[in-house]
């Protein structure tokens, strides 16, 4: 089965992702920033689907958009001060920050122009009906140890977050 209108969807999704990325870092209201970040994450999930990675797209939607962004919205509602929105929104070191980011961008552009010939291996066509099964087999055979460590990490994070946010320990 051939995909439909790949270039159109790629330019639409990536343009929308970059545009909402700009909105994330420039909005005064943190709730609007969070909404723009949700849009970015959903566009990225679409890009993962185009890269024949449906399992990663599903995990991105469940964990990132359905979990982490809900957490962010809860915390924004808890710490949302009206007076913080009327102050300046860029900090004192914004000029060196922009310069550093521009230098980083120039570095990326140089690497991609000079080293573009490295990325022309033929693409593997994964059979899409088996992506979950193959990822699952890899997780449980090659990556078993990181899998268990990740579950331990999540346990530590849960305990840490609860302890941090309690009023009295």
């Amino acid at each position: 089965m051939e995909p439909v209108a790949t270039t159109f969807f790629f330019y639409l999704l990536s343009g929308l992702a970059i545009l909402s990325g700009v909105l994330v870092i420039t909005r005064k209201n943190p709730v609007h920033s969070a909404l723009a970040l949700i849009l970015t994450l959903l566009c990225l999930a679409g890009l993962y689907l185009m890269l024949y990675a449906p399992f990663v797209a599903g995990v991105q939607i469940i964990l990132y958009v359905g979990g982490i962004m809900v957490l962010f919205l809860f915390v924004i509602m808890l710490v949302n001060l009206e007076r913080s929105q009327k102050e300046k929104q860029f900090n004192q070191q914004w000029v060196p920050g922009i310069l550093a980011a521009v230098a980083l961008g120039a570095l990326f552009v140089t690497i991609y122009i000079k080293g573009g010939a490295l990325f022309v291996r033929p693409e593997i066509r994964f059979p899409e009906a088996e992506n979950t099964q193959q990822v699952g087999q890899m997780l449980y055979s090659n990556y078993m140890f990181p899998f268990e460590i990740a579950s331990l990490l999540l346990l530590v994070a849960i305990i840490g977050a609860v302890v941090m946010a309690k009023k009295k320990i």
């Binding site: 790949t6 270039t7 790629f10 990536s14 992702a17 970059i18 990325g21 994330v24 870092i25 943190p30 920033s33 970040l37 970015t40 994450l41 990225l44 993962y48 890269l51 024949y52 990663v56 964990l63 990132y64 979990g67 982490i68 957490l71 962010f72 915390v75 710490v79 913080s84 102050e87 929104q89 860029f90 900090n91 004192q92 914004w94 920050g97 922009i98 550093a100 980083l104 961008g105 990326f108 991609y112 990325f119 022309v120 291996r121 033929p122 693409e123 593997i124 994964f126 990822v135 890899m138 090659n142 990556y143 990740a150 990490l153 994070a157 840490g160 977050a161 302890v163 941090m164 009023k167």
Partner: protein
């Protein structure tokens, strides 16, 4: 139009990375700084998944681990923020400049 190759995805990921770096370095609101960090992590994920189309499924598995770790880190970071906010009533990075208050 040219067919979409891996380089296209890498350029998008680099753009998101640079936007995230600008957000971390220039914003005052701590919550927006944390959201820019999430933007950086997502750019890295896009890079990993784009390369996994050439080099095998390892990139996708790594991306899943990155998402899991981002969830843990966001939870702990926001917990620290709430603990800080309870003491000092501000979310400005410029005002969080004392080791002990």
């Amino acid at each position: 139009m040219a067919p979409i190759t891996t380089i296209h995805y890498l350029v998008v990921a680099a753009a998101l990375f640079v936007l995230g770096v600008i957000g971390v370095l220039t914003r005052r609101n701590v919550v927006i700084v944390l959201m820019s960090v999430e933007l950086i992590l997502n750019a890295v994920n896009l890079n990993l998944v784009a390369f996994s189309r050439i080099w095998g499924l390892h990139g996708q598995v790594f991306a899943i681990f990155v998402i899991t770790d981002a969830a843990a880190e966001a939870a702990v970071g926001l917990g620290i923020l709430i603990a800080f906010f309870r003491n000092k009533e501000t979310v400005n990075v410029d005002e969080i400049d004392l080791l002990k208050w």
